[in-house]
């Protein structure tokens, strides 16, 4: 009974009072900022107050660099202990003071999972990694064994326990990091964009796993995420941040109404669909949206089970003619169709791995990309997307088959910072050819800047310019521009900028291929989607066809409406009758 008593009268899982924080000097701030520019060092926390009750599942939303990561790091004691700086206010986790306690003391009460799983593991084997926090707290071997077994079962990773961490995929590593954070049964778990490196399947699995842990174990969850459509339905509450302050705090449905007015970049595709169609209230997920549309259809007298096609599509009407769609985006043939393809891949086989674990990563891939074409390369983690791009770029030798490119290829790999090695943009890209490359990406005005001082989006553009430099004839682009997972950690507004850049590159005659897990981003930029599965092309076709014909590799709008060829809110809204008709 006393234990039950303690749990019932437990202190709030997280209590933040009037918290303001600023990083130390600019140089130090830059050095201490988390990887991939997750924190804008100029934007800290301003008078943040919030309380999370035990068992709540809260979603932390906001644009890049608005202070989400800083708030999470303050809640686990890393700020200010690891980053320095000035802090005011208080942070209590389960009644313990995080500011005076620091991360070590807080570790029993709070688990933290960061964006980059690479630096979140400190042991050689998975088993040791999960066991370490228990060992550090003096747990006996028997209690370690039990907690270890339970967390492994809860996260469905028993098959990974005997493996070394360097053999795990990003998704597996993220699960192991989560297991290590959960094994001490903390009251509060903080997650910083844990799905950013996961494919849609693994991302959805992780979110629903968190929901299950929240419901069955009573773990309080605070999850920072950009892809809100993925997790809004699982959350009890949304906290939106803007410039280091809390701009909104309330239930998901109210958040959508607020975002509609305050920041359209935070709207989910489902909410945007309803908003464009003039329907209310805005839905928090696919199930909610379908239920609402079903009710609307029932009010109109549609027969049960007739779905949501209230406005049958005229035979002559194509997706490209849908209202809200940019006329240049689809329906027009890409420039240079008569030219040789930007890339032609014939019977490509690639083998990777150690001597005793070598396997075929690509198995007879056939692919042709035209100049001016925008192609999304999709597939689950480990399907061979990056390997295909690296092989086209000549970084990997094929075991069989060949790749031919019309002219040069510029490949931007997953981490743009890998391209930035000098202290001035001018030093990275000297001369007229460097300037021409900077002009292509719209960065000719930052010649004297330190690359590390640029925003995440600008760093990505600069890295692309570095890959392009000298591969252009005058202002003419290389035959193929390839981007590998370019939207990691990006908010929707930065993704829109990237879509514009991709469209401008294609309009200037380059074939553009982008490996991505982000179906909404693919719907926004791609004319064509190539789906890889275990090294084989399993689908290749118009984006409207591929992204509307599945469960996981389908946009939220496609999953709601289930209409062939309808993948964006604009297309979907054109298929719904105006509200006065309802």
């Amino acid at each position: 009974m006393p234990e039950l008593d303690v749990r019932i009268r437990a202190a709030p899982a997280l209590e933040v009072r009037s918290l303001s924080y600023s990083y130390p000097t600019a140089a130090e701030r830059s050095r201490h900022s988390p990887p991939h520019g997750a924190v804008d060092v100029g934007c800290a926390l301003r008078d943040v107050s919030l309380t999370l009750a035990p068992g709540e599942f809260a979603l932390l939303a906001g644009r890049s660099a608005c202070g989400k990561t800083t708030l999470l790091r303050a809640a686990c004691g890393l700020v200010p202990h690891f980053h320095g700086g000035e802090i005011e206010g208080s942070v209590l986790v389960a009644g313990q003071d995080a500011i005076s306690g620091g991360p070590g003391e807080m570790a029993a009460a709070v688990g933290y999972v960061a964006q980059d799983p690479e630096t979140q593991v400190v042991s050689t084997t998975v088993a040791a990694e999960i066991e370490l926090p228990l060992e550090m707290r003096g747990a006996s071997a028997a209690s370690r064994a039990r907690a270890f077994e339970e967390v492994a079962l809860a996260l469905a990773i028993p098959h990974l326990l005997d493996r070394t961490v360097d053999t795990l995929s990003g998704g597996e590593l993220q699960r192991v990091a989560l297991a290590a954070a959960l094994v001490t049964r903390p009251q509060l778990v903080l997650l910083d964009e844990p799905t950013s490196q996961l494919d849609p399947v693994a991302g959805d699995e992780l979110i629903w796993l968190l929901r299950r842990l929240n419901e069955e174990w009573g773990v309080t969850i605070l999850l920072a995420e950009h892809r809100l459509e993925r997790c809004l339905a699982a959350a009890d509450r949304v906290i939106a941040m803007d410039s280091g302050a809390i701009a909104f705090d309330g239930p998901p449905r109210d958040f959508l109404a607020w975002a509609q007015q305050a920041d359209i970049a935070l709207e989910t595709p489902a909410a945007r669909l309803f908003s464009l169609a003039g329907l209310n209230p805005l839905p928090v997920g696919v199930r909610d949206a379908r239920a609402q549309l079903g009710r609307v259809a029932a009010r109109r007298g549609a027969p049960p089970g007739s779905g949501v096609s209230f406005s049958p599509q005229p035979q002559s009407r194509t997706a490209a003619e849908s209202p809200g769609e940019k006329p240049s985006k689809r329906g027009t043939p890409p420039p240079g169709r008569q030219d040789p393809p930007a890339a032609a891949i014939r019977d490509l086989w690639v083998e990777l791995g150690e001597a005793d674990t070598r396997r075929d990563v690509l198995k007879g891939v056939e692919l042709s990309i035209e100049r001016g074409e925008r192609v999304a390369l999709m597939g689950r983690n480990g399907a061979g997307k990056s390997t295909l791009l690296r092989t086209i770029a000549g970084l990997v030798d094929p075991a069989r088959g060949k790749t031919e490119t019309a002219g040069e290829i510029a490949l931007l790999t997953q981490n743009p910072s890998d391209y930035l090695v000098r202290e001035r943009v001018r030093e990275e890209l000297p001369g007229d050819e460097g300037l021409a490359a900077l002009r292509v990406v719209g960065l000719e005005h930052v010649l004297e800047a330190d690359p590390r001082d640029l925003s995440g989006g600008e760093r990505q553009r600069l890295a692309l310019a570095i890959a392009l430099a000298g591969r252009m004839e005058g202002d003419e682009l290389p035959g193929l521009v390839a981007l590998d997972e370019p939207t990691r950690g990006m908010d929707r507004s930065r993704k829109a900028d990237l879509v514009e850049l991709i469209e401008s590159l294609a309009a200037r005659g380059a074939g553009v291929i982008v490996a991505t897990h982000d179906v909404e981003f693919s719907a926004a930029f791609a004319q064509r989607v190539v789906l890889l599965g275990d090294g084989v092309v399993i689908a290749d076709g118009e984006a409207t066809e591929i992204l509307s014909g599945g469960w996981y590799f389908a946009t939220e709008v496609a999953r709601i409406l289930d209409l062939p060829g309808v993948i964006t809110p604009e297309q979907g809204a054109g298929r719904l009758d105006p509200p006065e008709a309802t």
């Binding site: 070590g104 000549g394 790999t413």
Partner: protein, 323 residues
């Protein structure tokens, strides 16, 4: 690409044994290599170390170590032949060389170099087997109560080395992908970028360690050992009322203390002790009969043969016994 020397979890007595038992076993082979100069014994130790690796499933580590070790041995043989002019059997007269003076290659100097090189190669193979078969996490766990700070440093390094290697590979790839008009990557820029990147990585890894509670180390709690499938469990109650509170108290197991031991430990400790004892006895009985100069004399006494045979057989110890 994983290093062939990287630890790979496998089912096998050597992998499941405690680090102490593995060190006792492999260390005894290395000790014999350093106690003896007789090429027959050294070759037997080399065969034993290679057999141990193959029996434990670490064939790729053995092959890689043999390649490196034999290359090193060859280098030692050449250098020794060039710089040592002792020995009566002159094979080659190479005349006057700058710095070295008159160079005569003798069979004795070659044999002496071969013995030293063989010893180095044997040590490398034994270390490769250790590296591929002994879980570094268990070694660090064993060290933590004895030297917490050193274990922390070792943990950071053991994690940062592969991370830095992966960073370097990525940076090199990005360097190859730079456009021809961009500044070339260059070694200095790569090194600077790696260094700054490593500092950031070190901070991140240190933060993770802190979050895992590394600062809360309680040495007495860290002695439990790792849990293996072949572990045997013994149970005893801890009576101390001053034991620190455990986060797993709700599980009702916090007061129980378990010890986990591998059933294979005894085998390796006993074999290590037997090998050392036999080596010492053999030394006393003249099993190490080998003289390089002035002419080569290799002892092939019964004790030498017996010790060599024993050592080779010991190499089969990591084989899993059939039920």
């Amino acid at each position: 690409m994983r290093s062939p020397f990287a630890y790979t979890p496998r089912r096998g007595p050597l992998q499941e044994a405690s680090p102490g038992a593995a060190v006792a076993y492999l260390g005894s082979l290395v000790a014999v290599a350093f106690l003896y100069s007789n090429p027959v014994v050294l070759a037997a130790v080399g065969v034993a170390a290679a057999l141990a690796g193959w029996s434990a499933g670490a064939g790729s580590a053995v092959r890689a170590a043999l390649r490196m070790g034999l290359t090193l041995a060859l280098l030692i043989v050449i250098v020794n032949a060039l710089v040592v002019d002792r020995g009566e059997t002159v094979l080659l007269r190479l005349g006057e060389w700058p710095l070295l003076g008159r160079v005569d290659v003798t069979a004795e100097a070659l044999a002496a170099g071969a013995a030293i090189g063989l010893r180095a190669a044997v040590a490398m193979v034994a270390f490769a087997v250790y590296s591929a078969c002994v879980d570094p996490d268990r070694v660090l766990r064993a060290l933590r109560p004895l030297a917490g700070r050193s274990a922390l440093t070792a943990t950071l390094i053991s994690r940062l080395v592969p991370v830095a290697a992966a960073d370097a590979a990525r940076l090199r790839d990005a360097g190859r992908l730079r456009g021809p008009a961009a500044s070339p990557l260059g070694r200095a820029a790569l090194a600077r970028r790696l260094l700054t990147g490593s500092l950031d990585r070190a901070v991140d890894v240190a933060a993770t360690l802190e979050l895992r509670g590394y600062g809360l180390t309680r040495p007495d709690a860290a002695r439990g050992g790792v849990l293996g499938r072949s572990d045997r469990v013994t149970h005893k109650k801890v009576r101390s009322p001053h034991r620190p509170p455990c986060v797993l108290a709700p599980l009702g197991l916090a007061r129980a203390r378990f010890r986990f031991k591998s059933r294979h430990d005894r085998r390796f400790y006993v074999i290590g002790a037997v090998v050392l004892a036999a080596a010492i006895a053999g030394k006393a009985l003249g099993a190490d009969g080998f003289h390089e100069y002035p002419t080569i004399e290799v002892g092939l006494s019964a004790s030498t043969i017996a010790l060599s045979a024993l050592v080779v057989l010991v190499g089969l110890a990591p084989r899993r016994r059939r039920a």
